[in-house]
Assembly symmetry: C2
Homo-oligomer: 204 residues x 2
DNA sequence: CTGTTGAGCATACGCCGTACGCTTACGTGT
DNA sequence: ACACGTAAGCGTACGGCGTATGCTCAACAG
């Protein structure tokens, strides 16, 4: 009966993502998102209860882009887990500014549950059972979450590594040497290399 | 010649940490820290350039509590890595409110470098070389960082797991079943269980 | 005792999230 | 065709944030 809404929640999420992609997470505010939608700041509160809920919409949108359909079953199960981890990483890295939000709000995003369900299916087919499967899923979550953040805060081939390489060799001999090696390790080699450690550890 | 400073950087860090421990990270502001020190807000700027630098002091303090001396060499090297990871986790978890800060600022904390140096030494003694050592250290960082955050955002034995356990079984059969198993997995079993996956994957 | 230096403070500005209450466009029932 | 009820969207305001700017005055060197 009353006036119909002029926006969808998806449009809100898209506007917020546009702000984040353009000005970074620090540029995100109710006011900037409202401006992006040619709306008044208080108008947003007809759609979300508070800023946190808006952030949740953004995360839903980012993680919703992850393809959760099980990869073809004709490849080894470890490789299928790698595929799933890679898909998640790709989707998240497409919006680097939103990474802290995805960490905080992933719990409440339905897309995250679908990803987990698929990964659990693959683990089950790989013969990982019960408690081991719980621990494995949780470890994969922890690793992927941490690796993406580390990659975003400073890639192994970035400036931070160069700084470490110049550390005093008497106090940090291994670190300095390792940093020089690290400069040559690309992001993919780093991410999937670490992931394979977990997957090898899962085999029995 | 002029008036001497009345505080040390350590006192700043302690005051900020006290605020965080009492009121959470959201309660941290230049004003609340100043109040904690019975100072005016602008007085803090004689010690730090901005809020970010103050956060760095907090992280230095938190990670400075980590014992970085190499564990006794008479235990298997994997076990020594577990010890180091456990020490880091213990120190960080002592101040849960500061966890997001430790993630953001760990790069610039000297204590983090000492931890890495020790872990690299253990890995070297375990026969992990060159690129494999780089990848291993980075994976350990990623895992520990991610696991601590996950644990803080919601332990496996917490409410979130119960919610997941009640998910519709037709759409999330494995997830719902797994969640029921997960309720019985304690934080230590979860943390070290995942860690051991990486360490097993490192063996050859 | 005096001069110099910087420690600490008071004020102010432009942001932020959001509580509150109004106006007004709209779909409906007559 | 028209009046009505509803909620969409807006204007204003408040308390809090980080911090730029410029002052006062405590403490020591000579």
């Amino acid at each position: 009966m009353p006036r119909p809404r002029s926006l969808t929640l998806e449009q809100l999420a898209l506007a917020a993502l546009a702000v984040i992609d353009r000005d970074g997470l620090a540029g995100l505010s109710m006011r900037t998102v409202a401006k992006e939608l040619a709306m008044s700041p208080m108008g947003l509160y007809r759609y979300v209860a508070d800023r946190e809920e808006l952030e949740g919409l953004v995360v839903d949108r980012v993680l919703g882009a992850v393809d959760a359909t099980p990869p073809p079953a004709d490849t080894p199960w470890q490789e299928r887990v790698e595929t799933m981890a890679g898909r998640l990483r790709d989707a998240v890295i497409r919006h680097p500014g939103a990474i802290p939000l995805t960490v905080i709000h992933r719990h409440h995003a339905a897309a995250g549950l679908r990803w987990s369900e698929t990964v659990l299916g693959i683990l089950a087919e790989g013969g990982v059972d019960d408690v081991r499967r719980v621990v494995a899923l949780r470890a994969l979550h922890a690793y992927v979450t941490g690796a993406i953040q580390l990659e975003h805060l400073g890639a192994l081939s970035g400036d931070g590594t160069a700084v470490i390489a110049n550390l005093p060799k008497d106090r940090f001999p291994l670190l300095a040497e390792t940093a020089r090696t690290a400069g040559a390790v690309g992001p993919d080699e780093e991410f999937f290399g670490g992931l394979r450690l977990i997957l090898r550890g899962l085999a029995d």
